[in-house]
C-alpha cells in the first residue's frame, strides 16, 4: 500500500505545481469545448479519493458533504470558486493524503463495499480502490495539463 500512496503523493505535488501561478480568474475559466475548469478538476481529484478510499471502507471522510456534492462524479462547474474555496481545496490537496498515510499505518482500512466505477471496473478491496485512485488522478492531471494551455 506504501508504494501506491507514494505515487498519490507525487500526483498531488504535480497538481499543485501545475496550477501554481494561475490567477483565480484562470482557475475558474472553462475553455470553449470543455465542461470544467482547473479548480473543478483539482477538487474532483480530492473528493473522488475520499469517496473511493474512505466512504467505500465505511470510514468518515475529511471533506464536507457540500464539497462532495459540488465536485463528485457527474458534476460540472456551476459557479465560480472564491479565493477562500480555492485556499481550502489547495490545503486539502496535501492534508487528505497525509491523513491516508497515517490511517494506513494505523490499519484503519478493514472493511470495503464492492463498487463498480464509471469506467466499468469493479473495485473489490481497499488496495484496489487506492490503486485505481492513482489511475483516476492521472487522468485528471492529463486534463489539467491540457486546460492550462487554454486559460
Amino acid at each position: 500500500m506504501k508504494d501506491i500512496l507514494e505515487v498519490t503523493k507525487t500526483s498531488r505535488n504535480m497538481v499543485s505545481k501545475l496550477i501554481q501561478g494561475f490567477t483565480l480568474e484562470q482557475l475558474n475559466k472553462v475553455p470553449a469545448g470543455f465542461k470544467n475548469n482547473l479548480i473543478w478538476n483539482v477538487a474532483h481529484i480530492i473528493v473522488t479519493q475520499q469517496v473511493l478510499v474512505y466512504k467505500l471502507a465505511g470510514l468518515p471522510v475529511m471533506v464536507s458533504d457540500e464539497l462532495i456534492e459540488k465536485y463528485k462524479k457527474g458534476t460540472k462547474t456551476e459557479h465560480e470558486a472564491s479565493q477562500e474555496e480555492v485556499d481550502e481545496i489547495l490545503s486539502l490537496l496535501h492534508k487528505t493524503i497525509e491523513q491516508t498515510v497515517i490511517d494506513v499505518e494505523n490499519n484503519l482500512f478493514q472493511n470495503f463495499t464492492e463498487y463498480p466505477t464509471s469506467t466499468g471496473f469493479v473495485l473489490k478491496n481497499n488496495f484496489d480502490s487506492m490503486s485505481f485512485n492513482n489511475f483516476h488522478e492521472g487522468i485528471h492531471i492529463g486534463v489539467i495539463m491540457a486546460i492550462r494551455k487554454l486559460v
Binding site: I4, N13, F121, S131, I139, G142, V143, I147
Partner: protein, 164 residues
C-alpha cells in the same frame, strides 16, 4: 514460510494493479477505434502531439520502465522507442500498418508482463527517477507508477479528441 506468504500477498496485489492496466488499455482501444487514421494523426492547435503519439508513448514508456530498467529485453523495436519516448513528438504521420501494430502491442505487452511477472523474471532493477520526480526502486514500483502515467496520457487524449 512467512516469506512465502508475504510474496504471495504481494503477487496478488500486483495482479490487481495489472487489472487496472488492462482497463487502461481497453479505454485506449475504445478511443482508437472511434477515430479515423487522419484524426488520430491530427495535432490540434496549441498541442505538441496527437492521439496516436500518446498511445505509442504509453506502450513505449511501460516497456522502458518495467523491462529496460530491469535489464530485460523489450517487446518493441528501437525505432519505435525513439519515435515515442519521453521528449519525442510526432515528426510524420503514422501509417495504417503502424496503427495495426500498435493495436496488437496494446494488449500483447501487458499480457506478457503479467506472465513474466508471475514467472518471477524481474529480479534486478536500475533505480530511476522519473521526469516528474518519482524514484523507482524495483519492477513492482514501476508497474504501480506506470498506471498513473497511463492515466495522465489518457487524460490528455480525452482532451485532444475534442479538437480533431
Amino acid at each position: 514460510m512467512l516469506n512465502f506468504i508475504e510474496n504471495l500477498l504481494i503477487r496478488n496485489k500486483v495482479q490487481q494493479v495489472f487489472e487496472t492496466t488492462i482497463k487502461s488499455r481497453n479505454m485506449i482501444l475504445g478511443i482508437l477505434q472511434n477515430y479515423t487514421l487522419e484524426q488520430l494523426n491530427k495535432i490540434p492547435a496549441g498541442f505538441n502531439n496527437n492521439l496516436i503519439w500518446n498511445i505509442g508513448h504509453i506502450i513505449v514508456a511501460q516497456q522502458l520502465l518495467v523491462y529496460k530498467l530491469s535489464g530485460l529485453p523489450m517487446m518493441i523495436a528501437d525505432e519505435m522507442v525513439d519515435k515515442y519516448k519521453n521528449g519525442s513528438k510526432p515528426e510524420q504521420d503514422a501509417t495504417q500498418e503502424e496503427l495495426d501494430k500498435i493495436k496488437i502491442l496494446l494488449f500483447d505487452t501487458i499480457n506478457k508482463t503479467t506472465t513474466d511477472y508471475n514467472n518471477g523474471i524481474f529480479k534486478t532493477y536500475n533505480e530511476y527517477t522519473t521526469s516528474i520526480g518519482f524514484n523507482l526502486k524495483n519492477a513492482e514500483e514501476a508497474i504501480v507508477y506506470n498506471n498513473f502515467h497511463e492515466g495522465l496520457h489518457l487524460g490528455i487524449m480525452m482532451t485532444i479528441r475534442k479538437f480533431i
